[in-house]
Symmetry: C2
Subunit: 205 residues, 2 copies
């Protein structure tokens, strides 16, 4: 049960629903389970949120905003491209660490219902920061700091790939790693410490 006395009922429902939806997904989640988890009667869910669909949409947006932080693509305003890359991984990895279960949930639900991400993008607008980064990258390319053959859009997506996949693939990596005596948690820590350098090595002139 979720913080029985501390939060008001609506908040308790939100926390419980977030837990259950993140764990089971929309199709696998049960209203009764959410009610039990929140320590309330199932009717209260409908009293506060009308239907499973509406409750889910609300929770999806709340959880997504938490997990994305201030922006989909937190890129600092100051510094060189290399510094921004390092800072990006720091922030991104922190958010992932705090929202381990979110990536799989998010990708799966958006896959089932692409409308969700359209609604989300209205609230979190990434294109501004994105465009700024691209402009700056092209400038530093001209200045000879980064390789000429690197496309900033591909670079950004490679960075996201490297950052997120260890969390997306957790259930698989965990199992495969035991067969070769590698510890998943230790891997995560070392991965976090090495990806920025991996990317910078690849693009610097």
């Amino acid at each position: 049960m979720v913080n029985e006395e501390e939060l008001n009922v609506e908040q308790r429902i939100i926390e419980a629903a977030a837990d259950v939806f993140e764990e089971k997904g929309f199709a696998g989640a049960r209203m009764q389970q959410i009610a039990d988890h929140a320590g309330i009667n199932k009717s209260l869910l409908h009293y506060y949120f009308r239907s499973k669909e509406l409750l889910f949409e609300k929770i999806f947006m709340i959880v997504a905003k938490r997990a994305f932080g201030k922006s989909v693509l937190t890129l600092e305003k100051e510094g060189t491209v290399f510094e921004k890359i390092e800072k990006f991984f720091e922030i991104h990895q922190d958010l992932l660490w705090k929202n381990r279960n979110f990536p799989i949930f998010f990708i799966n639900e958006v896959n089932q219902n692409p409308e969700l991400i359209r609604k989300l993008l209205e609230k979190i607008e990434p294109s501004e920061q994105l465009k700024n980064f691209i402009v700056q990258f092209e400038e530093e390319k001209k200045a000879g700091l980064v390789r000429k053959d690197v496309d900033p859009v591909h670079l950004l997506i490679n960075m996201i790939s490297l950052s997120i996949f260890p969390y997306l693939g957790k259930p698989i990596l965990k199992e495969v790693m035991v067969t070769v005596d590698v510890n998943y948690e230790e891997f995560l820590v070392k991965h976090r410490a090495s990806i920025a350098q991996f990317v910078i090595n690849s693009i610097k002139n």
Copy 2:
């Protein structure tokens, strides 16, 4: 409906179930929908496969074997590390192209039920190829061909990340890309052509 006359009933069920399960996941899939898709009576599903759980397990294994090809980590026996990296991406990207819907399905189902991957790993044993690659990598490191600070396990997982994420993130990338006028399909083609170089740049001395 799946190849109404060409295949026998069992095969038709398998193809239909694969389609529906891959699209909706275990929890979201409906036996009736699978039956309709296969053009048969729902009872036949139980006649051939007893229960939804058993049908799913069968389909999961079939689909996984198809998608993984000969091995989880197809790494060539001959050639330098750089050649193996290039070859890996070729094979891996081909498999992904042919099984676009598989990655999200796979990650989600394994997340819901980790037992699945344990059963799968009994059939597809990746650790042999993996160990060979690691040994060779350390040799080429000593020979000065690759950077001293690169860990082969992390390298392999980075390679898988870069290869798979554009497919895992398809629903998200697609929507985000339209907001900055990038075409997802074109992105995929260019990505495929550039990742091997991205990785090699990062590790070569």
